[in-house]
Subunit: 209 residues, 2 copies
């Protein structure tokens, strides 16, 4: 009864990226050393170079994985029955992890990296555009958005929604480490609901619904 192959090539890459995420969040892209990552992953330094050409390739692969994850979140948001629930999914996606502030820190670092690495900038812009198009579409089809929205076009609303989402992410990295995932989630949801009320509540409805 031989133990099944524990690590496929794909799993190794994933294992390295998981470790890299933790190290990058803890120290930043450029302060995290390859030794840090190998130690976190419980493997040797050299092995990383069997799966990634160099450190930049690790960063790129992380960005690519982030892109896939965002697309999945968008798909889930698309399937939600109401617009409010879609927004809640978008705003709390990063809180599903067991360490939300790790994800937040990574994303803020990703934007910082994008500001000087054109390749990363293109990728982030692309992710953002796709996600915003999706949400614009979501709003355009939503019955809630017809009556309210103060004459703003769907894409203008989407732009505001994503600005708030990014802004809350930045806020999240300032929270003390001790704050739990559940607490972060609650905060995010509060803001999401306030934003939703502002954007989509029919003006005739009572304001304190």
């Amino acid at each position: 009864m031989p133990q099944p192959q524990i690590e496929s090539s794909q799993d190794r890459r994933t294992q390295i990226l998981d470790a890299a995420l933790i190290c990058f969040a803890k120290r930043g892209f450029h302060q995290a050393s390859m030794h840090d990552i190998s130690a976190e992953a419980g493997i040797s330094v050299g092995l990383i170079y069997r799966y990634f050409e160099n450190k930049d390739a690790v960063i790129s692969a992380m960005a690519d994985r982030h892109k896939k994850e965002i697309h999945e979140v968008l798909e889930r948001a698309r399937r939600a029955p109401t617009l409010l629930e879609s927004l809640e999914i978008l705003f709390t996606a990063h809180c599903c992890e067991d360490a939300p502030q790790v994800v937040s820190a990574f994303v803020v670092d990703l934007y910082a990296e994008a500001s000087r690495n054109p390749h990363v900038a293109d990728l982030v812009r692309d992710v953002l555009q796709t996600a915003m198009d999706g949400v614009t579409d979501l709003i355009a089809r939503s019955p809630e958005a017809e009556s309210a929205a103060h004459g703003l076009k769907p894409h203008e609303l989407a732009e505001l929604i994503f600005a708030v989402s990014r802004g809350m992410l930045m806020r999240d990295v300032l929270q003390p480490q001790e704050m739990t995932a559940a607490e972060r989630r609650t905060r995010q949801l509060e803001v999401t609901r306030r934003l939703w009320r502002l954007l989509f509540k029919k003006e005739s409805e009572p304001a304190y619904a």
Copy 2:
């Protein structure tokens, strides 16, 4: 006829910090070397150590200066005659510089640094809290805010405003380098006005005012 003393001790520090801002925005806190900074400032490496204990002290001093600048922006916003103008000042403050994306990149980097450096995190949190208190106060006193605002409390509105502001800053670092300060400013103002309309326009007023 001796040239008058060009650099006082205070000016030297400012000169070094100006150079550091450019280098930090261009390469990031930890990728920018002391040689980069000294070259940008047009002085020798060693001289930096006459005015700053070490590299971390340069970063801290930059964060401190950022704090002072934010306070000044807040003062200007406070003196504006209407709430809309206050918001416009807050949202476009970084566009007053001749290189807005430099400021944006620096601030995003600052938040990234805050996510792992508790000292920087405390400072940024403090700045943010002061600024938010100021804006909360501004809203509470503003006649525009009384009738509208969908039943949201002033501090909840302030939280949303700052989230959008940070989110737009992150957006700004994705813009291609070629985009001019004026274009950035226009974009920021558009979003500010949309947000303001959403938050404070009386619901009875025509939506497309």
